[in-house]
Structure formats: structure tokens, C-alpha cells
Assembly symmetry: C3
Homo-oligomer: 444 residues x 3
Amino acid sequence: MNLTKLEQIFDNLWPVNRSITGPGLRESLHIIQNEMPVDIERIPSGTQVYDWKIPPEWTIRDARLTGPDGVVYADFAENNLSVVNYSTPVDDHMRLSELDSHLYSIESLPDATPRVTTYYNRDWGFCFPQSIRDSMPKQGEYHAYIDSELDPSGSLDFAHGLIEGDTNEEILLSTYLCHGSLANDNLSGPIAMVSLYNQIKKWQDRRYTYRFVIVPETIGSLAYLNRYGGHLVDNVISGCVLTCLGGPKPSLSYKLSREGDSLIDNVIKYLSKIKSDRQISIRQFDTRGSDERQYCSPGFNLPVGQFAKTVYGEYKEYHTSSDDKQFMNISSVAESINEINQYLRIIDKAGLFEATIQHGEPMLSKRELYPTINSPNIDIRLPNTDSTRDQPRILDMMRLINFADGNENLIEAARKYEIPPHRYISTVELLLANDLLRYCTDKS
Amino acid sequence: MNLTKLEQIFDNLWPVNRSITGPGLRESLHIIQNEMPVDIERIPSGTQVYDWKIPPEWTIRDARLTGPDGVVYADFAENNLSVVNYSTPVDDHMRLSELDSHLYSIESLPDATPRVTTYYNRDWGFCFPQSIRDSMPKQGEYHAYIDSELDPSGSLDFAHGLIEGDTNEEILLSTYLCHGSLANDNLSGPIAMVSLYNQIKKWQDRRYTYRFVIVPETIGSLAYLNRYGGHLVDNVISGCVLTCLGGPKPSLSYKLSREGDSLIDNVIKYLSKIKSDRQISIRQFDTRGSDERQYCSPGFNLPVGQFAKTVYGEYKEYHTSSDDKQFMNISSVAESINEINQYLRIIDKAGLFEATIQHGEPMLSKRELYPTINSPNIDIRLPNTDSTRDQPRILDMMRLINFADGNENLIEAARKYEIPPHRYISTVELLLANDLLRYCTDKS
Amino acid sequence: MNLTKLEQIFDNLWPVNRSITGPGLRESLHIIQNEMPVDIERIPSGTQVYDWKIPPEWTIRDARLTGPDGVVYADFAENNLSVVNYSTPVDDHMRLSELDSHLYSIESLPDATPRVTTYYNRDWGFCFPQSIRDSMPKQGEYHAYIDSELDPSGSLDFAHGLIEGDTNEEILLSTYLCHGSLANDNLSGPIAMVSLYNQIKKWQDRRYTYRFVIVPETIGSLAYLNRYGGHLVDNVISGCVLTCLGGPKPSLSYKLSREGDSLIDNVIKYLSKIKSDRQISIRQFDTRGSDERQYCSPGFNLPVGQFAKTVYGEYKEYHTSSDDKQFMNISSVAESINEINQYLRIIDKAGLFEATIQHGEPMLSKRELYPTINSPNIDIRLPNTDSTRDQPRILDMMRLINFADGNENLIEAARKYEIPPHRYISTVELLLANDLLRYCTDKS
């Protein structure tokens, strides 16, 4: 998926007013559905999901804050961040002093509009840059107008899709779509997911089944778990949340899952030790973050980590109108996508394998994987190949075969013997092609 | 329990002639019984306790060593250390050369009387300072006189008591009482136990049941195990021996239990890494020590460590008359008591807990534990509290809830996330008060 | 077994033409059988052993390469390395250019004849020093003559023997015998095995049963596993392959078994940390090596490591005629033998033990293993022994008794408490003699 295509999807999603429920969320999910096959499902407002309840569906049609001087200081039609998300309707005149507790701006970022939400408590408010707030007349009456609606018979919507692999074991990719016009956090995740769907679909082979989930953050993943949690617990062997994949940071980082030793965790730990231009770094598991907080709640404890580049909370533009397309940078997201695609390719070949010959070494020479003559001054090489490259390759083969007893993920052999990723992958493929390795599943 | 009270108990115990059996031991246990409710039990002499046998009960009425010059060189009436503990009766005249193998003094500490015992082999002797020994006439006959008795129909006595908690899981506190007039080793332990009993009794809540055991060392803990070992194995989740709690060393140390990873072990390991004025240090488990040697014998393998300050064998006054009240220092023991009380408070809140909501995060805002409005420039704070302090507190809550799957002691969360003890305790209390945590017991 | 005897066995084996099958192998095994009682068994050519097949038996009677000038450039009668091992018969005249791909020499070692084999692919060839090759006339016809035979109704032979111990648990010693006239790699192994057999036979006591296996490398150990693998899996608790035990390197190294934490692994890890003149070092497990590759294939995963001194592949004379008696050095092998004998002695006393008294400490004084009088200025000592030596010894006893719960090899106590080997061994013997320890087997 090229940059132009990515940018087009971004531009389609950008202006839509989104929340954790409502028509904007549905419209956004349909934009996604145009790019990858997903099912869209809904859960009625009022449904209990564990300790939470799906809130009424929020619709907003119009909103503005007009000053005593007739100036419109905040206008939903121009910027959907201008209204506190989930604001109740209001149509009232009041002095600035009364209004003050309903206004949000950031002194340290005087030109940015903050993103403010009040999902679970009835309230309303306007958001705008501090520079505008400073210009507001102190005297006279303001007109606060919000034409919104909280519908208790509405729903929460989410989307999900699958790419099937050779086995039912699943890799879960999850992202969220609920913030308004915000780029790094949030649109970088969904556009990366669409692109990864299309790349994974093109892989020549896939051991695992790939599950793609797009939900509003927190309440959406809780709703998803409520409906599909049992299936995920039975099938997901690794997963990741995609968030904040663009921005100025040079390279990706990965937040470990709660247990920290699943397939994806260990592959990324291994990769983080391999010298590379774009070396990925590791963040420890913690309870700040995105939907991995729900996937990794103790009752599910799913092996789900999180990829991010310019991480939430670590940049000043976070949750403000300054987190825009320029800040996010489509190219930066595209690089993240390519790296995550490569990591997933490795994960797909990094799980439990069993050597087909468990007793004694396999005889490699009869498969033309070992020289038929043994002499101290002949480099060990495969027939018809370049001798200087094959000596390590034969050793790699023997090491992976010896390691593959089905008890530990095969990537641990790469870690133990310091086999770099490209040699690891090509050796696994060579051994699979020669029927010397086979998949196996956790015996536990 | 104030210093004056502690000193009064010390002064009552000090002059009593004690051994591993006999009237002095019984009198000492009654002094304890006046300060805390304990049951006193006895095991008859001759009873087999594992590889050992309860010895005959020792009574001594009088003893002195008189020189050819009429000088009394050692006198039991003046110092109960003057006679080898468990001496058989003797009333005999002999020359110094014959007497020599029955005399004990220490060249390197010429003014101290050593403590010498012969519990399991019939023998007798006198102990005195080397300075006195040097003054004894070489010629003439000495009169060795010991009026003692070894009664095969006597008994060994011990005392024990309980403070009940919310659960039957027990914390064992054990100390010994058998040495004669020795302060750091031995009276610091029993006076600390009496004081800890009174402090723990006053705690507002107690998860665990606290067991207090006072026995003569070694044979007494063997006897106790012989009678109550099965119960201890079923119920004790952590314990400690109290010994040598005073003296000039500035801070306490803790000797790990045999397994080294029980609740108490891990709490103290965590505390030993937290910067503090009186940082506790860790000693590895070893087979030198006190009654933890019996509790930690492989057949019991109880999770019992040991607290000490100026450790046995590591000071020159050890097991001599110089280990007196001045050396021990009542204030030093009082400090140890306060610290151990604090450690036990933490241990009481450090065990296995389960979050009441295991699936997904609990919704904190509906419990007024999280702000209802979410904005990038509002510090996360609890309603009606100081915002600068609450951001870490909310994170602490979320971390402890996420950690509490009932599989690992909750203190490991404090260790992992480097939560200091006061914040840890207050967060656990807050979560318990909000029904977000509950006790659970080891599933294994 | 003295140096002269070792050298005599070496000299008997040296001239025999050996391969992985054939009369030379049989003759070599009979030479071994003269020195230690072993059974010699055979497996017919053509037998499938896991992924391999026993090849036809190879016999060679004569071979030479004669130049157009009548000079014999390679002569089997003079040096059995002159012919590629497993060469098919040939009697042909050809030019040097045609012959070239059948000739083997080493440019960097111009005076050495390489060892070349072609066990599983029909081929033939001659080996000689590069210096001779350089002198060969470029013009004219050469006569290549090899009088050999590959008999499909032959067999592969191997030898094995046992020394029984108190238990059926086995220590496996395995070496190979198939290379021609090569000293460090290969004859150092078989002569060490003969010598170790004779030393172990003389030990006063043996807990374990010792199994001695001599096979042709790779195919021989596969054949052995095919016949005895089930028995080995049930009984072998540790083992080692003996290879390359001489040469100029000053000290032995040990290659860990695949699991790396068996009895032998842990004993050698412990020894490698103890300061000593001939400190053994540790090599990690890998799939280069000798027959441990088969023993440690995942289906067997036997706890078998490998001892070597001047390690295969790490010296330039490896697999050439320069790996001769002078390079190997009989004294160097003799030193290795003595060290391995000592290591095995420790291993024999390093396994699972249970203290006979599990509840409470045993009363040592009634066994005369502890003083009957306890005084601060008397060194703790055993009755009638030197006091300065016995204080650590009593502590050693108490530590080993406390450790011996039958769950972990007792050597871990030596490692934990840093008890040196000689003190460890003598304490175990003392405790066994006093019925304070007993053998036990893995409960798992």
C-alpha cells in the first residue's frame, strides 16, 4: 500500500467527528470496510460489560460558543475538538465567570485546542486555544449552544476481520478509532492496520490466523472481550495493540505483554538485541496505555503487547489539535508499518516446531544439505552453493533441528546461538521445505 | 510499651537462674505470663523428640569453689554463670592440677565470666574471669562444692499464645529463654516478644493470626515442633525467630528462611532495597543460628527467618557476663521492636490478593477514584484531594489491581513498580475499603 | 595404569587401518577387549538406524598411486591415510588433469596428509602432502590402483562393558574408534577409557553403575542408541563423551549437555569456579562435536556432555597426519585421565541424598561428631581430632544435612556454601558412615 493510498484513507477519516459511540464512529468503520473486509457489529447501549456499561449513543449536530461581541469563539462545524466529547445539550446565556468551569485550553500550548471527554458523567463544555480564550471579553453574556443527544437505545459499534492461516492459532492485531481529528494518536493506528491487512494477505504462506480488531478505546475492547474473550483466550498466541505509529521519534518501541514471555514478547526481545538501523526498543508492561490494559487484565491475561513510535503522553502535542497530519507524518507511519510487517513475518516462523527426526541427527547429505566428502581443508558447503556462506548455514540447520523438541519457541534458538533474523528465517524455510521441521502446538 | 516498662520486665528476668529445664525456666515463663496471655505446657524428661531426648530436669541450690586460702573463687549465689550449666553434684577436695579441666575462663577477655553448658553429658565445672584464675594459689587443696540435682521425672516447659486475625493463616514469632544472666543474647528476644504482642493486639485490623512461642533454645523448639509441628506446617505462612535485638549495631538484619522466597523473605528483600534511615540488611540462610535451624530442618522446612541486630558470634561479649544490660541497651531493643512491628504491618498486607474484578479494568470513576472528565492539562486526581499526590496514587491502584491475580504475593507488585511502603500500604487499604481487592489463599 | 602401559596400548592401536566398519575396526576393538572386559556386538550393513542406514562393510587390501615416472606418490601400505576412507575399487590410468578431483592435500600444511572420508557416497581418492603433490609430473599417465571392497552383507561393530555399583543408575562413558592413524583425535579417547575403566574398578565404593561404550563415531552411536537407547533413557543420570584428551592445551574443558543442568553439568560448573592449578573450563552446548550430538538429539536428550583438552577444530593439525603421538603426548592424556577420574569420584557422591533425620537437626554429640561441652572459647571440634580443622567440618556437616531433602543434587550445597571438593567428599563420606545420609532417587 503506497503512501498516496495511505494518505487518502487518512484524509477520508480526518474530518469525521468520532466518539466511542455514534454516527461518526459508524461512518469511520465504513471507511475502513472499504479498504479491508471486516464485519461491523454493535452492542446496545445499556449493556453491562464486566464492571462497565455501554453508554447512551452520542449524536451532535451543531455547537458554538458566541460572545457578547457576537464573535463565535468555538465552533463545532470548524473543528470537532471544539466541544467536549459527550457534551449534553445546552442552550443558555451566562456570564464568563459562570461559563469558566466549562472551558478548556492549555496555557503552555496557547495555539492548540485540547481534546476533552466526559463519557460517563453528564457534563458539557467547549475547548479552544488559550490565545483565543485570552481575547474573550470579560463582561456581557455568552451564548452556549450545543445541539446534541444521548440516546439510551443506541449502540456501540466495532469492526473485525480475519485472514486465515494454516492453523487456528491466532495473532491478534487491535487498534482503536474514537478520537476526533487527531493524527498520531489516533489515526496512525487504523491506517496501519488497513495496510498491514493488505500486506499479510499477500504473504506466500501463513502459519497463523490473523485477527484484526477496530474498536473505540477502552469500552470498545471491553465490549469486544465480552463477546469474543473466550475465543481469544482459546486461540490467541500473541497479539499487539497498534497506537501512535508516526511522529518524529526515529524508531518503534514495543511494550511487553503482562506475562512478558509470549511468542511476540520473545521475538521482539531477540530483535531488540540485534544490531540494526532501526533497532526496536522494549518498554516494560505497565497499566498506562491503550487497549492492552483490557486484554491484559488478570482474568484474560492475553499475550498482547503494543507497538508505538512517538508514544502517547511523551510528546507535548498529545491529545491536542497539534497532533495533526504534519506532526504524524505519513512517511513515518509507513516505515512503522513496514517494520511491523517484518516483525510479524518473523513471529510467523518463530513458534513451536518439532524436528521431524527426533532420534539422532537427520542425515543431511542424502538431502543435499551437507557435503558427501569430508576433508579438513574443504569448507563445509551445500552442493552447488557458495561455500563461504554455507558453513554458518549448515550450523544453523543443525542448531535449529537440535533445538526443535516442541517445548520452546524456536526463536529461542536464534537468541541462544545469536543467529540474525534473515539467516533464521531462511533456515526455517529451508528446513520446512525439506520436511525436517513441522509445526506443533503447546503441549501444556 | 514504653522503655520503663520494658526495663522493668528485663530487670525481673535478669537475676533468675535459667537453663533448658528447671525451676528458673518456669519462673521466667511466669514473668512473661504476667505481661501477655500465654499457655505454659510441659513435656516430661525422657520424652523422645525426633533424634533427641528431653534431659532430666536440672535444679541447683548452691555452688562455690573455695581455695586453700579460704577465698571463694566462684560463687553461684553471686553470679549464676559461675557454674557450668547442668553440672552434676560434687563435694570434693582436690589440687588445682586435678581441678583444671573443670575450670573455664577466657584469656582474651580477662574480666568476663564465660557461659558454659553441658546439657547432654554428665560433667561439672566452674566459670570465672581469667583475672581471678590467675590469682589462684597453685598449691594446696580446693573445695569444689555443687549442690545440684538431675531429676529424670522432671520436665521441659514452654509457653505460647495467639492473637487471632481474619484468617487461620499464621505468622509465627518464636524466641528462646534459657540462658542465665545474659542480655542481648538472650533477654532482648523475650522482652521484644512481649512488646510486639501488645502492639499487634492494638492493630485496627489483622489478616493473619499471630502465634507467639517462647521455648528453651534447640531442645525447646524441637519439643514444640514435636507437639505442634503438624499444625505449623498446615498454617504458618511466614515466621521469624527473635534473637540478639539490642547492642551497638545501628540496624537490624534478617536471615532468610531455608527456601528464601516466602512472604516474609520477599517483603524484607523489598524493604532492604528501599532507601531508609534504618535500612534492614539480608543474611543468607545458613545452619548457624537459633531455633530457625529446627523450624527449617528439611522435614518441616517452615518459612521462618530470623531478626537480629548485634548478631550472635559477631561480638566479643557473646556468651559471657559482659553481654549485660549496658551492652544490650534497652533503647536499642525498643528501636528494633518498632521496626519489626512496622515490618509485620507490611507483611500483613503483602500476601495473596485477588482483584474482585478480574475481567477488564474496574471503572474507577464511578467509585470516585478517577476523574470524570479527561483532559490533557488536568492532572489525574481523585475527587476532593490534592492533585499532585494523587496521580501516582491512581497509577498505584491500577498497578496493584492488574497484578492481583492471586498467583503471587502482592508485595511483588510494589517491588516491580518500586512503590514505597507507605504508598503501598495506603493503596491496599484504599482498594480493600472499596471492595476492589480481596484476600485469597495459595491455590497450590 | 602407568604411562608405559598406556603407550603400549596406543602403539598397538596406531598402525591399524580403521574405518566406521571393517576388519580394522574389529581388530581395534579386540585390542581394547584385551585391556578391559567388553562385549563386542555387530549390526548388519543395511540396517536402518533412525534416519541413517548402516553402510556396506569396507575392506581395503592395497592401494597406490603411481606416476608416469614410476614413482609411488601415495601408498596405503605406508600410511593408511593415503587413501580416501571408504574408497571404491579402482584400477585405471589417467592424466593428472583427470585425476585432480580425486587428490587431497593441504596448501597451508605442506607436509601433512589430510584425513578424507566418503562414507555415504561412492567415490575414491588419494591423500598426500602438498609438498609431494607439487613434485608430481604434469605430463603422462598415472596409475590409480585401489583394491577395496564394499560388502553389503557386512556389519558395523561396537564394544561396551559395565562396572556395577550400588544402584542401577548409570554414568555413561562413550568414546569412538574409527579414524585411521590419528592420535589426539582419535586414539586419546579409547586409551583414556581403558585407563578409566581400570581406575573406577578399583574405587572402594561406587554408588552408580558405569557404562563404557566404544563405537565408530556418529553412525556407531546411532547404532548403539538404536539398540540400547531405551535402556539409556531409563537409567543414565549423567554421561560424557571422551575426545581429544591430549595435545598442548594445559587443561581440560567440558562441553555442557543439551539441558545443561544434569548432575555432571552441575558438578563441573561447580568445579570450574573453584580455584585450582588445572581449572576446568566450560563450553556451551552446541551441535558441533562428537557423539554427544546423537545422545543429545531431542528424542533422547540424554544428560551427556563431553570432555576434551586440545579441542577438535581448534588446532591446525586436526584431521591430518600431524596429529600424531608426539603432538598428542601420552603424558598429557595421562593427566586428563587422572582429572576425569577425580571428577567422576565427585560425581559419584554428588547426586540426590536424603538426610536420614528430616525433622529437626540430628544430635551430633551422641555420635561423637560434636563437642559435649559448649563454651565460647572452646573451638567446636570433633572428639580426638584437630580442633582447627574441625570447626568448618562441623558446619559442613550441618549444611549438607540441612540441604539433603532429596529434591536437589547435594553438590548444590557445596556450590551454595562454597565448600571445596576435598572437604565436600570427606564430609559426605563421614555422614554416610554415620548413617546420617542415604541415597535417594529423583522423585519426578
